[in-house]
C-alpha cells in the first residue's frame, strides 16, 4: 500500500493525465454518438418529421444501435487500393481530431480536492501556444480526407479528396487570419489567457467584455467571428461546405470506398471537429467560461441557473419516462431524471460545488449553442457550388479578415498609446 502511495505521489501527474485522457475520450465519444441523434432530431423537427423514434424512447438508443451495426458490418477492402495509406487515412482523421481536444480548457478552477498532491485542472494540457497547437493539428487534419480519397483507387473518392484538400487549404488562411484580432486583444496564444482577457464588462457595464462586442483594448471582433465561423464550417466539411462528400455529384465523396468501422472513424472525426470548433468559437469570441451576467451581488441569483435548468429537466424526464410501457422507459428514464434533478438540488445545497460548476456550465452552454447552430445551418442552407466556394474563400473571407486585422491593430495601437 505504501509502495502504491509513493509511486502515485511521484508519478501522479502521468497517472492523472492518462485518467483524464481516458475520461475525456469516453465523454467525447458518448457526446458524439448523441450528437448524431440530436442532429437527426433537430433536422427532423425543422422538416416536420418525427426523426428516430423506434429504438428506445425518443429513439435514444439509436446511437448505440448504429454503433453496433458499424461494428458488425463486413469490413470490405476494395481491390487495387494502396493498403497502407488506405488504412492510415481513417486513423489520421480520427487521431488528429481527438488530439485537438487535449488543449481545450473546460473550466477556470481546479477540482477542490487533489490527486496525491497533484492539482486536478479541467484541461489535459494548457500550453502557452494552445491556439497554435490547434491550428497545427487542423493543418495536418486535411491529410485524413485527402489520402482517403487518393488511396481508394476510385474516381469519385479521388475527386472528393482533391476538393477537400483545395477547400481546406483555402479556408485555413481565412480561419487563421480571422483570429489574429483576438490574439492582438488578448496578447497571448494561450487559450486560458484569451478567456481571462475577456473577464469584466464593456460599454458602461451593459455587455460582458467578450471579444465579439468588447471595446476593451481593441475593437469588437464581430467580423472576425463571422469569418472564423464560416471558415471553420468549411474546414470541418459540414453543410453548406460539404463539397468533398456531395452525394448528388460524388456518390459519398472521399469515404465512398470505406465500409464498416473505418467509415465510422471518419464520422466520429467529423463530429469531434464540430465540438472542437464550437469550443473554439466560445473561447475566442464569446468569453469562454465567463458568465453573461455581471459579478455584482444583485446578479448573484444567476449562479443558480444550472439548478434552474437541471431540476425542471430532470422532473420532465421522470414524467416523460413513466408514460412508456417498456422497461427502458419505465425504469431507466425516471432513474436518469431523478439523478439529474438530484444534481440540480445538490448544487443549491452545496454553494461551493455551485461556484465550481459556474465556469464549465457557461462554457458547455456556449458549446452546445454552436453545435445547435451547426445543425441549424445543415437544416437550412443548400450546398454551395464549387466556384462559389472558392470565391467566398479567396475573394470574400480572406480580404475581409485581413481588413479586420488592420482595423483591430489600429485600435489596439491607439489604446496602448493613450
Amino acid at each position: 500500500m505504501n509502495a502504491v502511495n509513493s509511486f502515485l505521489t511521484q508519478y501522479g501527474f502521468w497517472v492523472l493525465t492518462i485518467i483524464k485522457i481516458g475520461l475525456l475520450l469516453f465523454i467525447v465519444l458518448t457526446v458524439n454518438a448523441y450528437l448524431t441523434w440530436f442532429e437527426r432530431k433537430v433536422v427532423a423537427l425543422m422538416q416536420s418529421r418525427v426523426g428516430p423514434h423506434r429504438v428506445g424512447p425518443h429513439g435514444l438508443l439509436q446511437p448505440a444501435a448504429d454503433g453496433l451495426k458499424f461494428l458488425f458490418k463486413e469490413d470490405a477492402m476494395p481491390a487495387g487500393v494502396d493498403k497502407f495509406v488506405y488504412l492510415l487515412a481513417p486513423f489520421l482523421a480520427l487521431t488528429l481530431s481527438l488530439a485537438s481536444l487535449s488543449v481545450i480548457p473546460f473550466g477556470p478552477k481546479p477540482l477542490p480536492f487533489s490527486f496525491f498532491g497533484h492539482q486536478i485542472d479541467l484541461w489535459i494540457t494548457n500550453p502557452d501556444i494552445g491556439l497554435l497547437v490547434l491550428f497545427a493539428i487542423t493543418a495536418l487534419g486535411v491529410y485524413g480526407v485527402a489520402l482517403a480519397g487518393w488511396a481508394s483507387n476510385s474516381k469519385y473518392p479521388l475527386l472528393g479528396g482533391l476538393r477537400s484538400s483545395a477547400q481546406m487549404v483555402s479556408y485555413e488562411l481565412a480561419m487563421t487570419m480571422s483570429v489574429v484580432g483576438v490574439l492582438l486583444m488578448a496578447n497571448s496564444f494561450g487559450l486560458t489567457q484569451i478567456i481571462e482577457a475577456q473577464r469584466g464588462r464593456t460599454l458602461w457595464g451593459v455587455l460582458p467584455a467578450w471579444n465579439i462586442v468588447s471595446f476593451h483594448g481593441g475593437f469588437p471582433q464581430i467580423v472576425g467571428f463571422l469569418c472564423f465561423f464560416i471558415a471553420a464550417i468549411a474546414e470541418t466539411n459540414r453543410v453548406p461546405f460539404d463539397l468533398p462528400e456531395a452525394e448528388s455529384e460524388l456518390v459519398a465523396g472521399f469515404h465512398t470506398e470505406y465500409s464498416s468501422f473505418k467509415f465510422a472513424m471518419f464520422f466520429i472525426a467529423e463530429y469531434t471537429s464540430m465540438i472542437t470548433v464550437s469550443a473554439l468559437c466560445a473561447i475566442l469570441f464569446f468569453g469562454g467560461w465567463n458568465s453573461l451576467f455581471p459579478a455584482t451581488p444583485f446578479w448573484h441569483f444567476t449562479h443558480y441557473l444550472p439548478s434552474l435548468i437541471l431540476i425542471p429537466f430532470g422532473l420532465w424526464v421522470i414524467y416523460d419516462g413513466i408514460k412508456y410501457e417498456t422497461l427502458f422507459g419505465r425504469i431507466v428514464l425516471p432513474g436518469l431524471g431523478t439523478a439529474i434533478a438530484a444534481i440540480g438540488a445538490a448544487l443549491i445545497v452545496f454553494p461551493a460545488a455551485n461556484e465550481f460548476i459556474q465556469g464549465p456550465f457557461w462554457l458547455l452552454s456556449k458549446i452546445f449553442f454552436f453545435l445547435f447552430f451547426y445543425v441549424w445551418a445543415r437544416g437550412t442552407l443548400p450546398r454551395f457550388r464549387y466556384d462559389q466556394l472558392m470565391n467566398i474563400g479567396w475573394k470574400l473571407l480572406l480580404p475581409v479578415s485581413i481588413a479586420n486585422v488592420i482595423v483591430t491593430a489600429g485600435f489596439v495601437l491607439f489604446r496602448s498609446n493613450r
Binding site: 497545427a136 485527402a146 489520402l147 487518393w150 482533391l162 484538400s165 487549404v169 496564444f189
Partner: protein
C-alpha cells in the same frame, strides 16, 4: 540516460528513417508522406529545444500548407510509380564519396561547435513568442521584409502565369 535525451533519439531516428524512406519509396505519395514525417519529427526536436512557437509554425507551414500542396499536385496529376533511370554517370560513381564527404564535413562542424544534443537547460532562448517577434521586427527587420518581398514577387509571378488569356 535522461528523458529528454531518449525523446531526442526517438525523434532523430524518426526524422532519419523518414528522410531515407522519402528517397527510397517508389511512389510520389509515399515519398510526400515520408517528408511529412520528417517535418513533424523536426517540429518535435524544436519543441525539445524549448522553441514552442517555431515548432508550431513548422507544422502549420511545412507539415500543413506546403505538404498539402505537394500531395494535392501529386493527386491532381495522378502520378504513378516513378521509373528509375541510370543516365547520370556522376551519381553512379561520385554519389557515395560526395555523400560521405558532406556527412564528414557536417559532423566535423558539429564536433567543433560542441555537443549536438538538445540544449534543455536554457528553454527561454527561443521560447517566448514576443521575444521572437521583437527580434524579427528590430534586428532582422531587413532580411524579414526582403523575404516577404520575395514571396510577393513569387505570388505575382504565379498570378501572371495562371491568368486567363485576353480574347
Amino acid at each position: 540516460m535522461s528523458a529528454p535525451l531518449i525523446v531526442f533519439f526517438v525523434l532523430a531516428a524518426l526524422a532519419v528513417i523518414g528522410a531515407l524512406s522519402l528517397i527510397l519509396q517508389k511512389h510520389p505519395i509515399h515519398s510526400a508522406l515520408s517528408l511529412i514525417v520528417v517535418m513533424v519529427a523536426l517540429a518535435g526536436l524544436y519543441l525539445l529545444m524549448g522553441a514552442e512557437f517555431v515548432a508550431a509554425v513548422q507544422i502549420i507551414v511545412y507539415g500543413g500548407a506546403i505538404m498539402v500542396l505537394f500531395v494535392f499536385v501529386i493527386m491532381l496529376l495522378n502520378a504513378g510509380e516513378e521509373e528509375h533511370t541510370d543516365f547520370s554517370k556522376l551519381a553512379k560513381f561520385g554519389g557515395l564519396p560526395l555523400a560521405l564527404a558532406l556527412t564528414g564535413l557536417l559532423a566535423a562542424a558539429m564536433i567543433h561547435h560542441g555537443s549536438a544534443a538538445p540544449n534543455t537547460t536554457s528553454p527561454d532562448t527561443l521560447a517566448s513568442t514576443s521575444q521572437l517577434s521583437t527580434m524579427l521586427f528590430s534586428t532582422f527587420v531587413y532580411p524579414f521584409e526582403l523575404t516577404s518581398f520575395l514571396i510577393l514577387v513569387a505570388i505575382m509571378g504565379a498570378l501572371v502565369l495562371a491568368q486567363r488569356e485576353k480574347s
